[in-house]
Structures are given as C-alpha cells and as structure tokens.
C-alpha cells in the first residue's frame, strides 16, 4: 500500500502542527497550507489523496476552495473533509453542490479523523478492487 498524501488546510498553526504529528505517526504523508489559496496551489501542483480543511480561513475560505475545486476538477476522486460545527446548517447548504465531501465536527479529534480516513480509504479500495481483477 502506497503512502497516502494528506493535505491539511487551517489558519491555526498549532492545529496544523498537532494534526501533522498525529497523521504522520499513523503513516500518512502530510502537507499543510495556512489558507485556502495555498491549499489550492498545492492541489494544482499535485492532487492529494485527501484534503482536510477548515472553513474560516484568510484569503480563500474552505467554502470557496471547495467551490473552485468542484468547477476545476469535476472528476475529482480525492475526498474533502471539512471541519465545521454540526450546528451550522449554512455549511450543509453550500456543500450539497460539492461531490465527495465529508464533515468533521469541531472541536476536532485526531483519533476520529484517523478513523474517518481509514474507513474512507478501505471503502475506496474495496470498491476499486473488483475493477482491478476484471479482464
């Protein structure tokens, strides 16, 4: 199994730092971005296996980032995990137009994030595996 590349986008340096530590420890390759603009730049350079993003960020918010991704990469396969509060219904509304988007409840838990990623990749591989054995 190849190492999965995870892109973290958050304007809180400490959040990036602690998540990077936890994810790297779990065997992921981690890249970080301080805002949406930087994250978009990284994705354009090389698409990650998963994007984990905050919503409130300077320059380009998580919402705007998702919308640009949706129009730039309609065939996008990597999932987007958005950290938000469950009570904020506004975020659910705009996310309806975005494919393959998942929500993580704030305050974040590294353990829950790792579980969500693992589950996602396992499911993705399970659905991709039969395709590989077909002639």
């Amino acid at each position: 199994m190849t190492t999965k590349r995870i892109l973290l986008a958050d304007d809180e340096a400490m959040v990036l730092r602690v998540l990077r530590l936890q994810l790297e420890k779990a065997g992921y390759a981690v890249e970080t971005a301080k805002n949406g603009e930087e994250a978009l730049q990284r994705i354009r350079e090389a698409a990650p296996d998963a994007l984990i993003t905050d919503i409130e960020m300077p320059k380009l918010s998580g919402e705007e980032l998702c919308q640009i991704l949706q129009s730039e990469y309609p065939e996008r396969v990597f999932p987007v995990f958005v950290a938000t509060s469950l009570t904020d219904v506004r975020h659910r509304e705009w996310a309806q137009a975005i494919t393959n988007v998942h929500f993580l409840e704030k305050p974040l838990s590294a353990r829950q994030l790792l579980m969500a990623l693992a589950e996602y990749f396992r499911a993705a591989e399970a659905s991709a595996a039969p395709a590989q054995v077909e002639p």
């Binding site: 602690v18 530590l21 936890q22 409130e56 974040l108 590294a110």
Partner: protein, 618 residues
Amino acid sequence: MLGGRLAELWNRERMGLTMILASIAVIGVTVYLSLNLRNNEQVENLRNQGASISRILADVPFSELRARQQDHGPLRMLQLGQDSDEFAYAVVVNGDGEVLNAVNSPAVDVNAVVSGVSADPWFGERELKAFSDGRKVLEFSAPALEQEKVVGSIRIGYFLPTLGLAPGQMPFIASIALTIFLLTPLFYFMVRREIRPIHAVNDEIASRISGGEFNSCTIEATGELREFIDRFNGFMELARGKIEGLERDNTELVASQKLLGYRKLRIEAVLKAIPEAILILGEDGSVSYANDMVKSMLRVEPGDILHKLPSQWCLHEEALNFLSRFEKPSTANFYSETLRLTSPGDAQRKLSIKAYPLFSPQDPEVIFGRLVLLRDVTREALAEEGRGNFVAHVSHELKTPLNTLALYAEALQGGQGEDESFRIEAYNVINDEVERLGSLVDNLLSITKIEMGNLKIDKQRVRLHDLLRDAFKHVAHSGKDKNLKFQLDVPAELSTVAVDKDLLRIAINNIVGNAIKYTPAGGRITLTAEETDTAIEIRVKDTGIGISAEDSDKIFQKFYRSESDQVREVGGHGLGLPLAKEIVELHRGQLSVSSEPGAGSEFLIRLWKDRALLKQAV
C-alpha cells in the same frame, strides 16, 4: 325728496286725508245729484208745458194760425206767455214746409230750423241738435187742421236746460257743503280717538320687534282690541317658550361641539406624537387620515393624499402592492409584512407595515376601513443581522482555541505524551490558548456591557503617571519572553484626569498587548504621554509589522482579522482594539492609529482635560 315727504305725510295722516278726499267727493256727488234733479224737473215741466200748448194750438183754426202782416196771432200770445230763457220758437208750416207764421227767440234762425229738419205731421216730441250757440232744443209738434184735414204742422221749440247752478240754489248747496265740511274733521277726530289704542298697540309691537323682545303687551283696552291684545300676548308667550327651548338646545349644541373639537384635537395630538406612520383607509381604500410621519416613511405630504386611492399617490411599489388590496373588498384579516424598499434613495430601507380592520361600532360584521401602521425597521433589521453575525463570530472565536486545546489534550493522552519536547510544547500551547480564551471572554463581556449600556463607568481623578506606569509594566511583563525593549516616557507632573482606571487599564493593556503581538523579537515598544493646553495625549509606538492602509480603517471593527499571513501567524480574536476604542470613547476621548507597514505603528489616545474643554471638543 318731495315724494318722500308726501309718502310720509300719507303714512301718518292717511286717515284724515282719506276723509277729506271722501268729503270732497261726497260734496261733489251731492251737488251733481241736486243739479241733475233740478234739471230733470225743468225738462219735465217743459214737456208738460209743450204737450199742452201743442194740443191747444191744434184746436185753433188753421186760418187763425196764419200770420197776417205783422200780426202773428196766437203765436205772439204764446211767446209772450213763455219764459224767455226757455222758449226757442213757434212755427206754423203748410204741407210743403213753407213757413206761414213764426215767432222766435233772437238766438234762433227759424228758416234754418225748418229747412234743416222736416216737420212731424202729427203730435210728437223730439230732441233736435244744437243750433248756432250749441244749445239743444226739445221740439213739440202738432197737426194744423182745416175742416178736419191736416194742412200743415205746428212746431214749438224749447231750449233744453243746461246743467248749472241757478243763483237761487247757491245757499242750499253751500249749506250742504258746509255741513259736510264741518262734519269731516269731527268724524276724523272721533275716528282718531277710536283708533288711538290700535296705534299704541302697533307702536308697542314695533318696539318689541326692533328691541328683539318677546314681552307681553301691557296696553289697557276694551272690546275687540282687548281680545286682540290677549291673543297677541298668548302668541308671544308661545314664541318665548319656543325661543327659550331653541336657546337651550343651541347652548347644549355649542357645548357638545366644543367638547367634540377638544376631543378631536386631543386625538390628533396623540396621533401626531406616535412615532409610527398612521394611515386610515376608508371602505374604498382611499385615505381618510394620515399623520405627519407618513412623510418620512413614504415620501408624501399627508395633505396631498387625503381622499385618494393608494394607486394615485403611493410611490413605492412594495407599499402599493400591500395597500392596493384594500381598494377591493377584502377579508377582515390582519395583514402584516416587512417591506424592503427598492426605489432610488430608499434602497435598503425596511418598513414594517401592518393593517388592522376597523369594525363598525353598530355592526361588528361590517368593516368600514383599515388602520395601517408603518414603522421604519431598517435599524432593527441591521441590529438583528449584527447580532446574528456577532453570535457567529463569538462561537467561532471560542471554538478556535477550544479546537487547539482539544487536539493537544488528545495528543498528550495518546502516544505523543511520551515525547518530552512535545509535552513542553503542549503545555505552552495549552497555556497560551487558555489565556487567549480568558482574554477573549473578558473582552467580550466588557464590550457587550459597554454596547448594552450596562457598564457603570466609575470616574475618579487619578494620577495618570502612576496608572500608565503600572499598566505598562504589567503588560510588558507578559511579553518579556519575546526579547523586546520597553520604554516608558511619562512625565510625573501630568495633570490628574477623571477616568475609570480599571477600564483605562484594559484599553492600555489591549493596545500595548497588540503592539507586543505584532512586533518581532528585538523590536521596541514605547509608551509616552504629554500634556497640551486642552488634552493629554498618550502614544503607544512599536517597531512591528505595521498596518496596511486598508487594514487601518478596519482594525477597530469587532472580530476583524487581517488577511495578512504575518498577522494570521499570531493568534488574535479581533476584540482587543475595538474594546480599547469603546473605552476611550466612553471617556469622550479619541483613539487613532498611524502606521507605516514594515516599520511600525503608533496608537494615539487623546483625553480631554476638563469638562468645559470636553464640551468644546464635543
């Protein structure tokens, strides 16, 4: 002038004048009748005389009747026996009309008589036209017989008497005229005496009318006049009663009108004082009342829209859509909407509009109009929006440090806790985030209190030197790890000013804290204070990253965070500077900033020295 006098004379003395004229007429008629009577008597005498003479002459033999030379025979005898005034002529003519004998008054031409009118052959009487002097003649005729045969005619003429006074009648006529003439004034005075009470009554009634009085007539009288006065007094009594009733009704009417007018004024004053615009629409939807506030809400003069339908005056499409439904019969519902105006000049304004049905007091089933209330809710809507944004900001700002705390706590619990260096880092981060959370909550509470007006400002005269020194030292201590130079330059002899020292300390703390956050290691932070004639100026200067022109307009807005990476690298919640500004302004002071990006910033607090100067400054 003369006509006027005559009319007055006639009015005053018409009774007397009428009697004089009547007596003159009576005298005239009496004289005429007596003359006429005498005349008739004379004519009758003439007739008798003429008839008898003509019969006598008819018996005289014809030969006797003929004239012989100068002898006129019986005719002369006849003439002599007649009154010369009355006798006109006596003629005997033969069958051919030839005059055989004639005697006559000198005034009469016999030939003219005979040739003018032929003889009547038998006994007869006729009236002939005037002769040369215009007098009329009564002619009697008789046959002249000879041996029982008619051989001619005898014609005797008398002058008809004219209507005139005979000298003998003068005393009689004069006595009658005198009697009537003397009786006239007697009657006049008697009549006057009789009608005097009527005059008095008339005068009294006239004075009542001109004086507008309705008193009884007090004149003493008898008979029919007494009856008239009694009836008149009865009528007056009735009129007086009616008038008193009318006056009473009128007084009540005036009083109730005054009361109504007063109530109307009071209601109008109340309607005017109400801060909402009020429209009262009639059954057909037209405006029957509008107060002055309508002008500021709907941009129309209240006087211009009375009795007009909304479609004739309403400038705002949104308001018209709401109001025009009442131009048609509509249900008795309560209608309420918030209108967002779109017309130029009013864009972004929001009006709350409510329409209540007005039910008839007589029949609660009948709606006779609508009461429409309009209120400008633009500010409330903005405030509501602001509150929503505020809550969203606060929850975000609270969750951000919580998020970091949760992640570090979780990491410490897990395998990362075994790493010594991570543990130290985690403790520091947790410490910083707790502090950040604490300061956020403190600032949030203070700013909310100030904005809600709940904060009691406790002003005391304080020595600014001591206050600034203590506050600066305290905040400088918290930034001691950053390798910054702190410099305090506050003269000890600064005037005392009345401030809330706790609040001012928070403001200084936030401003200096902000400077510490954005000044890289090795930088310098200076606090200076100086006194001018009117104010004390406190400056906090740093050699930090500075503030862009775009940001310097916004840093005093709540929850504003710059997009700059340099700013974002340092944690903040966007409340410190807004709170400092609120506090300074609570002291009627000014907080401003000047900055050069990359070189540093300078915050200036200006506090006015005393109340008089403060007023001047305001």
